[in-house]
C-alpha cells in the first residue's frame, strides 16, 4: 500500500509540473497541445546534459551539479520549445491547436534523436535525484516513507505549484496575466503588453513542463528512458481541466491521476489488456469533470475565455 501511494505521488509530481506549466500557458489564453512534445524535449535535454556532465568529469561527480545541470538543461529545452510555439502563434498568428499538435510531433522526434545520440540508461544520474532530500527519514516509519522520503523533484513540484497559484491569484502580475487570457482586448486597452505577457508566460510554462518530463525519467522511471514521455504530457493536459485551472488543486489531482494510472500494477490478477483499461481511467474522470463543470456553469471554473484565440489589435 505504501509502495503504491509513493509510486502514485512520484508519478503525480511529474504530472503536476506538466499541468502547472500548461495552466500558466492556458491562463494567458494559449491552448498549448504541444505539452507532450515539450515534456519529451525537456526530458531528453536534461538526460543529455547529465550524460555529457558524467562523460566530462568521469568519477569526480559533484552531487549538486549532477542535479542542477540537467534541471537547467530541461528548463532551457522546454523554454525554447515554448518560444517556438509563441513565435508561431503570437507573431505569425498560426492556429494554436494545429501548432500545438505539430510541436508535439516535433518534440517526440527531437527527443528520440537526442536520446539516440547518448544512451537510454541514466540510472547513475537518477540516484542523485531520488536520494531523499531530508535526512533520517528512514527512521520515521511509514510516515517518513510516505510523506518525507522523496527526492528533489517532489518538493520542487509542490513549491512551483504553490508559488504559481499565489502569483496567479494574489499579485498584480497574476491579475494582468489572467486578464490577458480572459479578454486580451481589455488587457490591451488597459495598457498591458499582451504579446509580452503571452511570450513570457508561455516560455515559463513550457520550461516548467520540460522539468516535468525530466522528473518522469529521472524520478519515476529511475533513469531508465522509455519512449512514452508524451503519454504523461496528455495526462498533464487532462489534469489541467480536471483541476479547473488551479495548480493547488492540481497537487491532489496529480496524485489521484498518478494513483489511477499505476493502480493496475498493484492490483493482482489484472491482465495486460486490463492494464490498458486502467490507464484510461484518468481520461474518463476528466470527461466526467468536464461534464460536471459545464453543467454547474460556475464562471470561475470555466476555461479562460479567449483560450485558443490569437489576438491582433487592429482587427476590425
Amino acid at each position: 500500500m505504501v509502495a503504491f501511494l509513493v509510486s502514485a505521488i512520484r508519478l503525480g509530481m511529474s504530472l503536476l509540473l506538466g499541468s502547472t506549466g500548461e495552466t500558466i500557458t492556458e491562463k494567458v489564453g494559449h491552448l498549448n497541445l504541444g505539452i507532450p512534445g515539450i515534456m519529451c524535449v525537456g526530458a531528453a535535454c536534461g538526460c543529455y546534459a547529465e550524460y555529457l556532465y558524467f562523460k566530462a568529469v568521469g568519477v569526480a561527480v559533484v552531487p549538486i551539479l549532477a542535479i542542477i545541470i540537467p534541471l537547467i538543461a530541461a528548463l532551457i529545452g522546454g523554454a525554447l520549445m515554448g518560444l517556438l510555439f509563441s513565435f508561431l502563434t503570437i507573431t505569425l498568428r498560426a492556429n494554436q491547436n494545429m501548432t500545438g499538435l505539430a510541436i508535439t510531433t516535433l518534440g517526440i522526434g527531437l527527443s528520440e534523436y537526442i536520446i539516440n545520440e547518448a544512451t537510454t540508461i541514466f540510472t547513475k544520474g537518477s540516484k542523485y535525484f531520488t536520494a531523499p532530500l531530508i535526512p533520517f527519514t528512514d527512521r520515521l516509519g511509514v510516515f517518513g516513507d510516505l510523506v518525507l522520503e522523496y527526492g528533489v523533484f517532489v518538493y520542487l513540484a509542490l513549491a512551483i505549484a504553490i508559488v504559481t497559484t499565489y502569483v496567479l491569484n494574489k499579485t498584480r502580475v497574476g491579475l494582468h496575466l489572467r486578464a490577458v487570457g480572459e479578454n486580451p482586448a481589455t488587457a490591451d486597452a488597459a495598457g498591458i503588453n499582451v504579446s509580452k505577457y503571452r511570450y513570457v508566460a508561455t516560455c515559463i510554462g513550457c520550461a516548467i513542463a520540460g522539468l516535468g518530463g525530466l522528473a518522469f525519467i529521472m524520478d519515476y522511471l529511475k533513469g531508465n528512458w522509455e519512449y512514452c514521455v508524451d503519454t504523461i504530457g496528455w495526462l498533464a493536459i487532462a489534469l489541467v481541466i480536471f483541476t479547473v485551472w488551479n495548480p493547488t488543486i492540481a497537487i491532489f489531482g496529480s496524485v489521484a491521476f498518478g494513483a489511477l494510472y499505476v493502480a493496475s500494477s498493484y492490483i493482482p490478477g489484472v491482465s495486460f489488456a486490463g492494464k490498458a483499461l486502467f490507464k484510461m481511467l484518468p481520461y474518463v474522470v476528466t470527461l466526467l469533470v468536464l461534464i460536471i463543470t459545464s453543467m454547474r456553469k460556475k464562471r470561475e471554473h470555466q476555461p479562460p475565455q479567449s483560450l485558443g484565440l490569437s489576438y491582433f489589435r487592429e482587427e476590425r
Binding site: 494574489k170 499579485t171 498584480r172 491579475l175 494582468h176 489572467r178 486578464a179 480572459e182 479578454n183 482586448a185 481589455t186 488587457a187 490591451d188 486597452a189 488597459a190 495598457g191 498591458i192 456553469k297 464562471r299 470561475e300 475565455q305 489589435r313 487592429e314 476590425r316
Partner: protein
Amino acid sequence: MAKPIALECRGITKTFGRVVANKNCDLEVYHGEILAILGENGSGKTTLMNMVAGIYFPDEGRIFINGEEVTIASPKDAFAYKIGMIHQHFKLVDLFSATENIILGLEEQKKYNLKVAEEKVDEICHKYGFEIDPRKKIYNMSVSEKQTVEIIKVLYRGADILILDEPTAVLTPQETQKLFAVLRRMRDDGKCIIIITHKLHEVLSLSGRVTVLRKGEYIGTVNTAETTESQLTEMMVGKKITLNIDRAEPQNVTDRLEVQHISSVDALGNTVLDDISFTARSGEILGIAGIAGSGQREMLEAIAGLHHLTGGDIYYHNPKTGQIDDLRNKTPIQIRDLGVRLSFVPEDRLGMGLVGNMDIVDNMMLRSYRKGRGMFLHRREPKDLAEHIIHDLQVVTPGASTPVRHLSGGNVQKVLVGREIAASPTVLMAAYPVRGLDVNASYTIYNLLNQQKERGTAVIFVGEDLDVLLELCDRIMVINGGRIAGIVDGRTARKDEIGLLMTKSQEKEDALHGEN
C-alpha cells in the same frame, strides 16, 4: 474662451487599407466642458477618438494636450496624458470583480493590495455619486453597472479628459438621466468630457459645443445654444432631409395573433417569459419596449417556433380560412405548413437571419428552397427577387452574387427585411431592425414597416429608441423581466412613463433578491 484648452487635434487622417476612416479632422476641447461628437454610423467618430485614446495610431496629423504636442502610441501613453475612454463595447474582464477591473494594467509603486484599492473606489463613488459594490463580479452586473465600472476605471487613473462612446445606447431613460447628472458633476469639477453620439436630443440637452463628422471628414463645430436640431441633421447627413414617420391610422383592424399566458424557462431553469398575453392585430404596429434581455428575443422566437414554451397558447387567426390555429411549440416548418405567413427579422442578422458566406441569391433561397420540385434548385426566381430587392431598397452591393458578409450593416439589414417582406407575410416580427443603421437607412426600414401595416400585416416591432417607438407604433407593450409591465397607446404615451415601466418592477425584483 477663458477656459484653458485641454485637447486639440489638427489634421488627423487614418486609413484602414483603402478605406479612409478619418480625413483631415480637427477638434478642440476645453477643461470644464462637455463636447459632443456627432455623426452617422461609419462617420469616423469612434476611430478619431480611438486615436486620442491610443488604440489606433494616426497616419497623419498632430495631437496637443494642454497646448503641448504629444505622441500617443498606446493606451498607456493615453493614461499618462490623463485621457480615459469608455468604449461602447465595454472592455471588462467578466470573471473579475469591479475593483480588479479598475486596477487592471496599473503599475503602481505600492504593493498589490485589493483592500486599499477597494477603499479608493468607494471614495470615487462617493465623490461623484455612483452606486456600485467594488467586490461585485462583472458577470453579475447590469449594463448600466458595467458602464459605471468603466467610468470609475478612468477616474481611478486620474483622467482629466473623458471620452464616452455612445454611452446611452444601452441605457434606459432613467439611467441616462443619472449618467448625465454624473457627467455634469464632473464637468463642474473641471474635467473635460467628450461624448460620441448620434442622438440629437442628447447633444442638445447635455453638451456645450458640438463637432460634426460626416464620412470621416470634419464638417464643423457649433455652440449647442446657437444651433437647432435641423441644422445639426443637415450637417450630419449632408443634405436637408425631413425625418418624419408617417403614421397612418390603422385600417381594418382585426385580431391576427393571440398570445395567451405564455411562459418559458431557459437552460438553467430561470424564468425568461412569465405569463405573457397580448394580441397583435392586422393593420397595426405593435411596439415592444424593454431593457435588452427582458425576454423580447425569446418571445419572438417562441412565436416563430424556435423557443420552447412551458405554458400558454399562441393562436393564429387565419384570414384565408377563418380558422384559429394553435402555434404553440410547433416547428417553423409545421407553422408554415399550416398556411401561416409569418416573417421574422431576428436581431442577430448574420447569425439567425442570413448566411454570411452565401450571396444574396442563395440567401433568398433559404426561404424558398422547399418550393422547387425535383432534386435540383431553381435559381431564377430567387435571383429575380434578389435583383428586385437590390433595386427597390437601394442596397449598395457590387451585385447579387456578392457574399452578404461583405455588405455593410445597413445593407445586410435591407436584404434581410426585403426577403422577409417579399414573402408577403400576415405577421411580420422585427427585432431591432435598425440597430447599427444610419439615419437614412433607419427611415427606409421604418417606412417599409409602415407599408406593411397599411397592407394589413400585423407588425411586431422590437425597438430600443423610445422616441422612434413613440413615433412609429400604434400600441407599445413594455416588457420587463419576462413580464408585461403595461401596454400603452403609442399616440398618447409619454417617454418617461414607458421608461418607468421598463425599470419599475425590476427594482421591485431587485428588492426581492436582496431579501433572499
